[in-house]
């Protein structure tokens, strides 16, 4: 693919790519910027090649995710690629508008699938591709993530209403 076209694709998805990088880096803005730079470098140096132009966003999100995992590992924040079904309980009171903190309470894979589907308007199949897991597994993460997030939102709302 010509570098001009690749440049255009990256520019088109730049905003979404940044937001996704931020979400992959536990909402750490500086780390997200680094991850994005590294991602673009990987792409422009030809370490990552786009084969199907129609899957540009999926491809870009996948590179961002793996670059973020590497960065988190370097920073000592070890992230398991494996599934985690363990429910995370609310320990302290959270502001209902602190969406990022609420999202962070979901297990890793569930959080990623939910963000891709609801925030980035992707399909479960696309999410499965980005996470490099089977469609069935992605669907399970999606269902559990949805259920868990609903519970969390309700719990936070109740906390706000009745003051813990």
């Amino acid at each position: 693919m010509k570098s001009g076209k690749l440049d255009h694709i990256l520019k088109t998805h730049h905003r979404d790519a940044y937001l996704w990088a931020r979400q992959c880096c536990s909402f750490d803005e500086e780390m997200a910027k680094d991850v994005l730079q590294q991602t673009y470098l990987k792409i422009l140096e030809g370490q990552a090649k786009l084969k199907d132009e129609s899957k540009a966003k999926t491809w870009l999100f996948s590179i961002i995710r793996y670059t973020a995992i590497d960065e988190l590992r370097k920073a000592g924040k070890v992230v398991s690629l494996m599934d985690s079904y363990d429910p995370i309980e609310i320990i302290e009171e959270i502001d209902g508008t602190n969406y990022e903190e609420i999202i962070k309470m979901l297990p890793e894979m569930q959080r990623e699938v939910i963000l891709m589907v609801f925030y980035h308007q992707m399909t479960i199949a696309q999410s499965a591709e980005i996470l490099q897991i089977g469609l069935g597994t992605a669907r399970t993460h999606y269902d559990r993530g949805k259920k868990k997030l609903k519970e969390l939102i309700t719990k936070v709302q109740i906390q706000e209403e009745y003051g813990k």
């Binding site: 570098s3 937001l19 609801f118 997030l149 309700t154």
Partner: protein, 103 residues
């Protein structure tokens, strides 16, 4: 997508909040392209340097390899030496050839 209103509302509000986030500038990447002018310039400089550095090779004059010294008598019976330089010898006579005939 049954009963996802609560989630959709949640993410709509989250997105609205994220609108405040400033997107970092898209990095300008300078591609390392070798255009026509760079190799052309290198070739031109090299050919110029070749012309200036190259010394003219001196044309070697053919040095005489043979010196012919002959003893000749002129009309007054005086003996004279004539010395000639040549690259080749028409005839060659051994300096001791006279011994063979005169002996």
């Amino acid at each position: 997508m049954e009963n996802d209103e609560q989630l959709e509302k949640f993410f709509a509000q989250m997105k609205k909040q994220d609108e405040q986030l400033e997107t970092p500038a898209f990095p300008e990447v300078k591609t390392r392209k070798f255009g026509f002018w760079i190799p052309a310039g290198i070739a031109a400089s090299m050919s110029l340097a070749f012309l200036f550095v190259q010394e003219p090779t001196p044309v070697e004059s053919v040095s005489p390899e043979v010196v012919i010294i002959t003893l000749q008598e002129d009309e007054h019976q005086n003996q004279q030496f004539t010395i000639e330089e040549s690259t080749f010898l028409d005839t060659w006579e051994s300096p001791t050839a006279s011994l063979l005939t005169e002996y």
